[in-house]
């Protein structure tokens, strides 16, 4: 009976998380800009059965390299509804399963269902993860829960049947995202930590690490061989333009990091880390700490996006905080204040609600507002009907996927930088062309990328004092769409 009660509560937490996500996701009929990449892939899979690897529109024509499991899963669910509906619902469904896997991991570590449920509840509303996976059709909505499912399986892999499930989960993860290498790195750090702490290193652990290493390398050779040869070791930074990489952390301060991670996970997580490293010393907890250290290092080296790195770190701290909460209960039970356990936990939950839950909703709402507006989409659909196939549209880099999806025209750049030559030059030129004063330089850049149209979205216009001055040269630029969104036709060439 007691077991069922916990499962019911877990189910309710899962449903609450999912419903809240769906409500926020459907605040807008559109997706976040990057979501249109996956939407296009889903539609292509539905038509042809394979992902769109050779893309004639992105960057004027390029090859995409990515593991396709997430896109195939979305395409499968799209069979039962429209792709636009499926890509909103399914990623949020996957993302909500994080509460289940965090519960399993915490229960595996502490053996206590109550703190595991609390941690599960916290994990459902981590601001960094919650806001970045609402309407983005992000692969992380699938990968993050899967990652923690694998963590749970690895904590219990000595059981035969779990080993088979672990293989399948690893197979799915390897074909979804290269985050498997983070797991390998974490295992190596775990090995070192075990050695330092004087623990015996089980052979099974080494065998699993070996298998995982070669498994990941082999699959990566298939998927990323071209990218390895093209970019060399800098593939780790995914060919992100230098200027963009530099700006990753510029606008972030410590308060914002606490805001994104969450106050309760941070405090209790750090208390746990201290307790585990210096007093408690259990190998399973050391494994979680190893993964946390790995993500921390990756964030420092800018090898992972800030919001994603913080999302992982937050969830790991929540898992670790289960131990701190468990120790707190045990401690308080021995004291005179044992009757205050429940009020204390109510206070913790209230603090969490104010510091993380509401922040998650606010952040998610702000993120959803960053989706394109109806006018933006209308303009691009109009452009599709009033331009020729094969023509190129210049918009901001964030709008690249939007242009290829709605206008079905070539873009100059978007947020997928892998296998793109001279990305720093291209990024620099695409961003500065909107601020240039000199018309000849602007025309030179526009001619270089064979731009036929310049697209100014509502967001683009509102973020500027005025449009570039060179657009007033009617011999070169014609305003062909003039609403809250503006589209100019480029019809001159430098001789």
């Amino acid at each position: 009976m007691r077991l069922q009660k916990h499962l019911i509560i877990l189910g309710m937490i899962f449903l609450a998380t999912f419903l809240l996500r769906i409500i926020l996701a459907f605040q807008t009929p559109y997706l976040e800009y990057d979501g249109y990449f996956n939407l296009r892939q889903v539609e292509h899979i539905q038509k042809t059965g394979i992902p769109l690897y050779k893309d004639d529109l992105s960057y004027g024509g390029r090859v995409n390299i990515f593991p396709p499991v997430f896109q195939y899963v979305l395409a499968l669910f799209s069979q039962f509804s429209s792709p636009e509906f499926a890509v909103k619902v399914i990623p949020n469904l996957f993302a909500s399963t994080i509460v289940i896997f965090v519960y399993l991991v915490c229960n595996s570590l502490t053996g206590k269902k109550s703190v595991s449920l609390l941690s599960a509840f916290f994990s459902g509303f981590v601001p960094a993860f919650f806001s970045s996976t609402i309407a983005a059709v992000s692969v992380y909505s699938f990968v993050v829960p899967l990652f923690f499912f694998i963590v749970y399986l690895m904590l219990n892999f000595r059981k035969q049947h779990i080993l088979y499930v672990l293989f399948i989960a690893l197979l799915v993860l390897v074909f979804s995202h290269p985050i498997i290498f983070v797991l390998i790195l974490a295992l190596i750090i775990h090995l070192l930590l075990l050695k330092v702490e004087g623990f015996e290193i089980r052979k099974q652990y080494l065998e699993l690490l070996l298998f995982l290493t070669f498994f990941s390398i082999w699959i990566s050779f298939f998927i990323y061989n071209k990218a390895f040869l093209f970019h060399g070791i800098s593939i780790i930074w995914q060919n992100i333009p230098g200027m963009l990489l530099q700006n990753y952390f510029i606008d972030i301060n410590y308060l914002q990091i606490i805001y994104l991670v969450g106050f309760i996970p941070l405090v209790f997580g750090l208390i746990s880390v201290h307790h585990i490293l210096f007093q408690y010393k259990r190998t399973n907890f050391l494994f979680i700490i190893s993964i946390s250290i790995t993500f921390f290092i990756l964030l420092l080296l800018k090898m992972v996006q800030l919001d994603i790195g913080l999302a992982f770190l937050s969830i790991l701290l929540i898992i670790l905080s289960a131990h701190a909460l468990d120790e707190l209960i045990l401690y308080v039970q021995k004291t005179k204040f044992s009757t205050f356990i429940i009020p204390a936990f109510v206070v913790i939950i209230i603090v969490f609600l104010f510091t993380s839950f509401f922040q998650a909703i606010v952040l998610a709402s702000e993120q959803v507002k960053k989706s394109p507006s109806a006018e933006d989409v209308k303009a691009l659909v109009w452009l599709k009907e009033n331009s020729h196939v094969g023509q190129t549209v210049l918009g901001s880099i964030d709008e690249g996927y939007l242009i290829t999806y709605y206008a079905q025209r070539k873009n100059v750049a978007d947020n997928n930088f892998l296998l793109v030559k001279n990305i720093n030059t291209r990024y620099d030129e695409v961003t500065k062309v909107f601020d240039l004063k000199l018309e000849t330089e602007a025309v030179r850049i526009l001619n270089k990328y064979e731009v036929d149209y310049i697209y100014f979205s509502e967001e683009s216009i509102s973020s500027r004092k005025s449009l570039p001055g060179y657009l007033s040269d009617f011999s070169c630029f014609t305003l062909i769409y003039n609403q809250t969104v503006k589209i100019f036709n480029v019809h001159c060439r430098l001789t």
Binding site: L163, F211, K448
Partner: protein, 470 residues
């Protein structure tokens, strides 16, 4: 797993010869299927050109302006060139050398008390290693160096110290850096086995040969070390390097090395660490490092096969994955080798330069061997610009990057440059970062530059421009 039954030495020798022959012929065959009959690698063309000059008793290379130093490898090629045509020789000799190297390695491994299983694994790893594939697909001085080193090692282990000394001394007359590495390894062996007389005998023979060469032939050994910026691409072929190590094999090596470094001893550990560090700067060091990587890798793989695993389910899977990863890495590398420069269009473009007006050729220094061979013209500068005198470096940068026609013309005339050879790689980062930068802008827009040759498709682009002073 059941142990492999002992294989007779003759059968093993035959198997090594056959397998090495097939593996070494693969890049050539694939290349021919793709319609490219050119040799693989710049070193091949450099070697046959220098050997040709040696055969003609030339003392100075008129194209590069450098003195022709004595090099045993080039003299050997020159000797064979009198019997076999150069281009045929350039394809046959690496294969023969490769087969010899494989056989010598098997001999050395058996002398080092590797079990037959470990030796077989080591030889297979050696045959599929990028270090072996590159060295023995091109006409490369390392192909002879490795044979001499392995022969010397074999003689040393058989207590034939003077013969060992003879082989190691021969390396001295090819590349002094390789000689020093070989000598260091001989010393390490002597120190481990406390057989210092062996080392002393080797050094004595080398000193004797050196003395004879200096006194009677005015031979002056020179160390030419061009260290590039450290890069993962230099050491790992999977990140774009041409001569280096494969990552899967390197991981096996790391596993074995981590487990056995105490047994290997401080000297070998130090030597390996030094070789690994230097390999980040200069890919030539990976040729020797490859031998260690292969040996340790074989020990690792043998251990994994014979060890009792606690997770029996994944033992077979893991070993299968290791084998598949190694094979895939090698096949991918063979494919890259077979489609590497020079392509038929590349050589055709340079042949145009042959019949053009006199004057030096301006192009990236990495194309120097091809320019000399195909166009038989000199280059404005044939080495890394970082080694050039400051004013020359300034001039070259100005020629490439300046849009000032007067300045560019005066510099072209100053350095007697009559031809400019441009490739797609030069336009996409090798020389120019942006389009229409500097000389790239001037060429099509200035009447003094005449387009002699232009080829462009989706993957390649070669243009040859002639500069007319009047």
């Amino acid at each position: 797993m059941k142990p492999i039954p002992p294989i007779k030495k003759r059968i093993m020798l035959l198997a090594i010869l056959c397998v090495s022959l097939i593996i070494l012929l693969l890049p050539q065959i694939l290349r021919m299927i793709r319609g490219n009959e050119n040799l693989i690698g710049a070193e091949s063309y450099e070697a046959i050109r220098i050997a040709g000059l040696v055969k003609d008793n030339a003392t100075v290379d008129l194209l590069s302006g450098e003195r022709i130093e004595f090099n045993l490898f080039h003299h050997l090629i020159a000797l064979f060139e009198s019997i076999i045509p150069a281009l045929v020789l350039a394809k046959i000799i690496p294969v023969i050398f490769g087969m010899c190297a494989a056989v010598l390695l098997s001999k050395v491994l058996s002398q080092l008390k590797f079990s037959q299983e470990q030796a077989i694994i080591a030889i297979i790893l050696f045959l599929i290693s990028p270090g072996y594939l590159y060295v023995y697909s091109t006409l490369n001085q390392y192909s002879l160096i490795i044979i001499l080193f392995l022969a010397g090692a074999s003689f040393l282990l058989a207590d034939k110290h003077y013969l060992c000394g003879f082989c190691i001394s021969a390396i001295l007359f090819i590349d002094i850096l390789s000689f020093l590495i070989a000598l260091a390894l001989i010393f390490i062996h002597a120190a481990r086995s406390k057989e210092y007389p062996a080392f002393i005998k080797t050094v004595s023979i080398a000193a004797l040969f050196l003395a004879i060469a200096v006194i009677f032939f005015s031979f002056i050994p020179r160390i030419e070390l061009h260290l590039a910026s450290p890069s993962f691409s230099t050491i790992f072929v999977n990140f774009g390097g041409i001569l280096g190590l494969g990552i899967p094999l390197f991981i096996l090596f790391l596993i074995s090395f981590a487990a056995n470094w105490k047994k290997a001893g401080l000297l070998i550990t130090a030597c390996i660490v030094l070789l690994v560090s230097l390999s980040f700067f200069e890919s030539g060091f990976t040729v020797f490092l490859n031998l260690f990587v292969v040996a340790f890798g074989a020990l690792a793989l043998s251990l994994l096969i014979n060890r009792r695993w606690e997770l029996q389910n994944i033992k077979f899977l893991t070993i299968l994955l290791i084998v598949c990863t190694l094979l895939f890495s090698s096949l991918s590398y063979i494919n890259r080798l077979s489609s590497s420069q020079p392509s038929p269009h590349f050589s055709a473009a340079l042949m145009q330069v042959k019949t053009a007006n006199p004057g030096f050729v301006l192009t990236h220094e990495s194309y120097a061997p091809y320019v000399y061979y195909f166009s038989q013209k000199g280059m404005a500068w044939n080495r890394s610009l970082s080694n050039a005198p400051l004013d020359f470096r300034r001039d070259m940068h100005a020629i490439y990057l300046s849009r000032d026609l007067k300045e560019t013309e005066s510099l072209l005339q100053k350095h007697d440059i009559g031809l400019i050879f441009i490739t797609k790689e030069m336009e996409e980062g090798l020389v120019w970062e942006k389009e229409n930068q500097g000389l790239e802008f001037l060429l099509p827009n200035t009447p003094r530059f005449k387009l002699l040759y232009n080829f462009e498709d989706s993957t390649e682009k070669y243009t040859v421009w002639e500069y007319r002073k009047e």
